[in-house]
């Protein structure tokens, strides 16, 4: 029997507000444990929550970017359960009236474009973090994280493969970063993804028994977990076994999912409206104001870049993956760099340097202006492309302007015909065997000889001119 994969995703995103969701305490949870806390984050008696307006605005902006309807009227609810990381033993969340609902996001996979339905996006507060590594047989709770605003984004069960799930997460993260509402750092937990996974016989309308896979630390981990889980479920069915609805964890080292909690022990959360908070009213005027604040989103920017700078679709796609890169690219283009060349340098050498240094483009010492200046130096023949690679590395390390490096190191390209002819003559004299091979019709040795000339000139020779002179002299022999 052939099976179809059915996946729905739940993503929790920490919103990058300065203060927590319901109190004025800082959201910086890198601070030493339990230093960014206040009577409210600790759930002390007598405290009351006051909703952070910015958290609502960020949530609505995400909803708008995901083509959601924004609820004119919504409310906060209490979700009741006992756990030491939950200061009040209830979490303030949204139950039946989320801020945003009924949207979609477009993803792109090897099979083309597809829309994934967004069921809802609702605002809630993060819990504290527990640690079991403080020793002495004790567990510790760090309340720095408690109360950081979280947006939970839930999709329809529209995802049909692990690859689509990966594409969904990538597209979502891209939008969130463009909006500037979250740093989306999965390792630090500011973006957490859970997948609800089931399989069903191809053509069937009914859903199979689903499992929920949690605590996956990367997008590729999610993809692998889904692949594993789908294969496991098909195997269980194939062997005549029965699947149980359960929560499963992901062991990244062993590449397997494992059972954590079955449905029988599921909670009755006893949701009810939080009487400490007023209803959230987002009227048309506020919604429009927030809509106007939306930046250009990835899909639109990608299309614009392709057209405005006449670059290939692939380049536009890569350059818009992150807002930072797209901003950088446009700044370089604005500084009069040739758009296609700028794209090549950014996607190629600069990206390689960033990857090696584990740096984001926002922190890069090479300014877009300097990159443009460097490209211009190549264009006007001052330096060769080869030298430019060296110069870029130096710019990357020191932040110096390309011209300064060229002058400092005497890297100006040799474009003097007489000087180049002399070098070529020397090279030909020093490589008689290759000259003989050329005479015997082996054209390929020209490349070797060009390389020797470049080497002899310490890379400074103008490659185009070297080619011409070398060909001329060889033919003359």
């Amino acid at each position: 029997m052939e099976f179809e994969t059915v996946v729905g995703m739940e993503v929790h995103v920490q919103l990058d507000t300065e203060s927590k969701c319901f109190c004025p305490t800082s959201t910086d949870f890198h601070a030493p444990p339990n230093t960014n806390v206040c009577p409210l984050s600790l759930g002390l008696p007598g405290t009351l929550p006051v909703l952070n307006k910015k958290a609502v605005e960020y949530s609505v902006m995400v909803g708008l970017a995901l083509n959601c309807e924004i609820s004119r009227w919504s409310k906060m609810d209490r979700k009741n359960y006992f756990y030491p990381d939950l200061a009040k033993n209830y979490q303030i969340s949204q139950y039946d009236l989320p801020l945003c609902h009924g949207g979609w996001i477009e993803i792109e996979t090897s099979a083309g474009k597809k829309k994934i339905g967004i069921t809802r996006a609702h605002l809630e507060e993060d819990t504290a973090s527990n640690t079991h590594e403080i020793g002495g047989g004790f567990s510790g709770v760090d309340f720095n994280r408690c109360g950081i605003p979280l947006l939970e984004i839930v999709t329809e069960p529209d995802i049909r493969s692990a690859e689509e799930a990966y594409a969904y997460l990538t597209a979502l993260k891209q939008i969130l970063q463009y909006l500037g509402v979250s740093d989306c750092n999965m390792e630090e937990g500011s973006l957490r993804a859970e997948a609800n996974i089931s399989v069903r016989p191809k053509g069937s309308e009914e859903f199979g028994i689903k499992t929920e896979v949690k605590n996956v630390a990367s997008f590729s981990g999610v993809q692998k977990a889904i692949e594993f889980e789908v294969a496991r479920q098909i195997k269980v069915i194939g062997e005549g076994g029965t699947l149980v609805q359960e929560t499963r964890g992901w062991d990244a080292d062993r590449g397997i999912t494992f059972s954590q909690r079955t449905k029988e022990s599921a909670h009755d959360y006893r949701y009810f409206p939080d009487p400490d908070l007023m209803p959230i009213v987002v009227d048309e005027a506020w919604e429009n104001e927030l809509r106007e604040r939306l930046p250009e989103l990835p899909a639109a920017r990608r299309a614009r870049l392709e057209e405005q700078y006449a670059i290939p679709p692939y380049d536009a796609m890569v350059l818009t993956l992150s807002k930072g890169v797209a901003d950088y690219y446009e700044a370089a283009a604005a500084a009069k760099a040739d758009p296609k060349k700028a794209a090549n340098w950014i996607m190629g050498d600069l990206q390689a340097l960033l990857t090696e240094a584990k740096q984001e483009i926002e922190d890069c010492k090479v300014t877009p202006d300097n990159l443009a200046a460097m490209i211009t130096l190549i264009e006007d023949g001052t330096i060769s492309g080869k030298i430019a690679k060296e110069i870029l590395a130096e710019m990357f390390a020191s932040g110096k302007a390309p011209k300064a490096i060229v002058e400092e190191k005497g890297l100006v390209q040799i474009s003097d015909t007489g000087e180049l002819e002399a070098i070529v003559r020397e090279v030909l004299a020093g490589n008689p065997a290759q000259v003989e091979q050329f005479k015997a019709g082996k054209d390929r040795v020209v490349g070797f000889l060009v390389g020797q000339v470049m080497k002899a000139s310490k890379g400074k020779a103008n490659p185009q001119m070297v080619n011409d002179i070398l060909t001329k002299q060889l033919k003359a022999l």
């Binding site: 009577p39 759930g43 002390l44 009351l48």
Partner: protein, 491 residues
């Protein structure tokens, strides 16, 4: 001259202190002496702050000596119900689970009272987490009614009421969720007012039922109510349910009489269950107001009979979540023998909470449970809306509504403890007002044949405290009813 300052009103104390006729320290010392003399009979306090109170009083005196401005409560010694957070002393809610709890912050009302020059004498006993009508549910001790030491003072603000009537403070703060200020004020013979929901910040009030709780004063007379309300009312950005409204000067709202005022008398409040003595005194009180120029009309609050049921679903549901935080993880009582996390929760709560609190947590948990939510909590919310509509419609015909505060005067200790339902019915005339949200005041209107105080309740439209204050003040002035507890033998 040997004036007994413990019998004076807050207003008179303020005037004397401000004019330099008496030092704040002298007044405070008089109250501390009074507490030392009678507290072993009344048992109103959980904690008395001798040194702190004297230091606060001396600070007021120092300001006066330097010609600095002192507030409108300069040198007035007051007591605070023990669920109002104070950085001084403990905030126990009269519960074992918070027996040693110290708050790192002051409630907004405490900050405001301090800024107005009030002096804090200590924390007052109450029913545990404000759940009760007799203060018998306190985990610490039973407070007695100053009018009859064998009777309860009412509750849950029993310590707040008894301390005022026994002259152990000039006035006190209580909290009212279903009558917890007005009922003990009626039973203990003082004036108690529940402001409109949203009038007084709940920041620093340990929550029982968040949509119903409201802090309010218990005083010796109506004018002191206005003085106290001026201090504690007003918008607070730390409480989202606090109303962003201007607060009138309530002391300027007292005079003017009731000429032209229409008083609604709800027929549902004068039926079976209302004691004859209470009925008689309340009707006499209505006559006083009629004689003063007010008109009375019969009104109907048709959903009154559902109020107790609706109240006990909503307040217990909210309480079940509000009290979940007392788990022994971060503060408060943790059972010493718990072996794992689950046991820590179960044993700490089972030992830390008294039986009434446990009963209400279980009731509320049940009402919110999957499968029961619609039938209980949701239905209760719908009926609450009907009860609100009852009041809105009644107020189309009248300016204020007058009723008895309680069906009967104070009862003896243990009289109702075996039957929670009978205890709940003691709040039958006060509960609806909390569901509606408006303000209400209870003023003494006489005594029973046994000498027990009887209370007369005047309820108002939302945010119209001015109307009930003026009505109550007029009644107080015209009726001449002034209750004084019998002399308590000094120990």
């Amino acid at each position: 001259m040997s004036q007994d300052w413990t019998r004076a009103t807050a207003y008179d104390i303020r005037e004397a202190v401000k004019s330099g006729a008496v030092r704040a320290e002298t007044v405070t010392q008089a109250y501390l002496d009074r507490i030392a003399a009678v507290e072993n009979q009344v048992l109103a306090y959980n904690e008395v702050w001798n040194d702190h109170a004297l230091a606060m009083a001396r600070a007021v005196d120092a300001k006066i000596a330097q010609g600095e401005d002192v507030g409108p409560l300069a040198g007035v010694p007051i007591g605070l119900k023990d669920l109002i957070c104070t950085t001084e002393g403990r905030t126990t809610c009269s519960s074992k689970i918070l027996a040693n709890y110290q708050s790192p912050f002051d409630a907004t009302c405490v900050e405001r009272l301090r800024a107005q020059g009030a002096v804090f004498l200590g924390k007052l006993n109450m029913d545990e987490f404000a759940m009760g009508s007799s203060t018998e549910n306190s985990a610490t001790h039973q407070t007695r009614n100053p009018f009859n030491l064998e009777c309860v003072p009412g509750g849950s603000s029993g310590g707040s009421a008894a301390s005022v009537s026994a002259n152990e403070c000039a006035f006190s703060l209580g909290s009212d969720t279903g009558g917890s200020i007005r009922q003990p004020a009626a039973l203990s013979g003082c004036v108690g007012l529940k402001p409109t929901y949203g009038r007084v910040s709940r920041w620093g009030l340990v929550a029982f039922a968040s949509s119903l709780d409201q802090i309010g004063p218990l005083t010796k007379d109506v004018r002191d109510q206005a003085l106290a309300l001026n201090a504690i009312c007003g918008h607070d950005p730390r409480d989202s349910t606090s109303a962003p409204l201007e607060v009138p000067d309530f002391t300027a709202c007292l005079e003017g009489g009731v000429e032209g005022l229409t008083i609604g008398v709800p027929k549902e409040y004068f039926t079976e269950g209302l004691g004859d003595e209470v009925r008689g005194k309340v009707e006499a009180a209505l006559n006083v107001l009629r004689d003063s120029g007010a008109k009375t009309v019969e009104v109907s609050l048709p959903h009154t009979s559902y109020a107790v049921a609706v109240y006990y679903i909503i307040c217990t549901a909210e309480a079940s979540a509000n009290l979940a935080r007392f788990d022994g993880v971060r503060y408060g009582y943790r059972h010493p023998e718990a072996k794992d996390m689950r046991e820590m929760y179960v044993l700490s709560k089972s030992e830390g909470f008294g039986p009434e609190v446990q009963r209400r947590i279980m009731l509320g948990t049940y009402a919110l449970s999957s499968g029961y939510y619609d039938a209980y909590y949701l239905k209760a919310q719908k009926v609450r809306a009907l009860i609100k509509r009852d009041f809105d419609r009644a107020y189309e015909q009248c300016d204020v509504i007058a009723t008895p505060t309680t069906p009967t005067p104070a009862f003896k200790f243990g009289a109702k403890t075996d039957n929670p339902l009978e205890m709940y019915l003691n709040d039958i005339y006060t509960i609806s007002l909390n569901l509606y949200g408006g303000p209400g005041i209870s003023v003494p209107c006489g005594q029973s044949a046994d000498g027990l105080p009887i209370g007369f309740q005047i309820m108002g439209k939302v945010f119209d405290e001015a109307a009930i204050l003026r009505t109550a003040y007029t009644y107080e002035q015209r009726s001449g009813v002034k209750l004084a507890a019998p002399e308590l033998a000094a120990s």
